[in-house]
Amino acid sequence: MRGLRRIALAGLVFLTGPAVAASPAPPGALSCGGCHPANPAGAIPSLAGRSAGEIVSQMQAFRDGGRQATVMDRIAKGFSDDETRAIADWLAARDAAPKP
């Protein structure tokens, strides 16, 4: 029985994981992956494994000029604090979700 219970719990966790990832992305969040690769590769950094707090603070720095950029300064200015926070939370949760 203990074995079966373990299977059941593992199954529940596994099956609910994708449901979290499938909740609608907040406005703008789907655009990030157009440039930022899922896994580190090339000149543009991956966002995988970054905390929501880090993403928010970097976006803020791009917006106010605290961090030099070629294009992210122009893009970050298109998102409010609330929108940025929602995107950061979604990215961080997506990367934390188990992969099928």
């Binding site: 299977i7 122009r74 200015k77 298109g78």
Partner: protein, 434 residues
Amino acid sequence: MMRRAPSPTGSPPVMPRPSRRAVLAGLAAGAAALAAPSVGAQTPGRVVVIGGGFGGATCARALAAAGLNVTLVEPSGTYVACPFSNAVIAGLREMSAQTFTYDGLKGAGITLAARAATAVDADARRVRLDDGTELPYDRLVMAPGVDMNFEALPGYDASAAGLMPHAWKAGEQTLLLRRQLETMKDGGTVIISAPPNPFRCPPGPYERASLIAHYLKTHKPRSKLLILDAKDAFSKQRLFTAAWAELYPGLVEWVGLSGGGRVIEVDPVTRTLVTEFDRHTADVANIIPPQRAGAIARQAGVADATGWCPIDPVTFESRLRPGIHVIGDAAIAGAMPKSAFAANGQAKVCAAAVVELLAGREPAPPKLVNTCYSLLAPGNAISIAGVYQPKNGLLADVEGAGGLSPQNASSEVRATEAAYAEAWFATVTGEAFA
């Protein structure tokens, strides 16, 4: 084996004893019920996607990842990407770097119909293929790209493109223009005819001019490049103009609409381009003609009198035919340009909207981004960016965001942008085709 959790999508592991199989089946069903927000478990919607370019392929993958039943209709076995194809024309890149297969999509659970769609019945919600097959759908996504409009410029039809290539769909046309440049004599004249708005890849003709100029300067330095333009203004104009003066002095000449630059007729046999005031004879003529949405969009009734497809900016659903969504170059996306980057973003937003609609929910208004890089020379690039949101029924610029690369950026910044362009291409083709 007993420790493995049942897969949510695949078959459960084979169990040795029926009693345990029954128990596990029950567990899996219960877990699936608990996972109700997962659309795949709840709504087995049938979605057909027409067109396997950046928009269609990316959308098909996003829909399949959400658990929907997706068929991609695409007659070509391979896809040849347009971004960076100007580098192929200039001999800086090989076609193999532009060419992708659909094997990755098959692996992602997408059914591939390697046929051309010949008709869409929007009322019956069916797509007809050229072998007579009919595909029923709950939602249809059309990503048909552009057709060259061979009725818009007197003298320029499909056969003329064999003599004066447009090279505006990557593939044989790209290689034809490259060969013509390679066989041209030093001291020859290359002419690019740039179309009126709207058209695929607004900065594309001017990136092409830059890279052809680089080729001529390097290999045939006595040659000239003339751009005859149907417009008085174009994308990244100040940046391109400054780069031509700096990198290719005396080599590139641009003539806009008010200077008599609009080409009104061509003669492909003599390679003559006729403007309102003049006639120009080219050694190599690249005619980028006016364009319109792919033919199947017009057949389906989703294109309006302009030849393009009006859409709802939240869902990308056609304004003309319910149940059909249009993404990418064929769509009238307001301030968003017709770019691969835009098609990729629209594809993912549209897929999310389709998932919500099939689940009976209302999609929330999206925000979209575009970034287009243009090469001025190898290792030297500029960009334009924008952020967009629905406003008054169109996708409008978010004020205060976006814009161009700085006018006087250092060569290091230009080199960084060139590296980012390459990295973007790797990511966006990976999202679509890997």
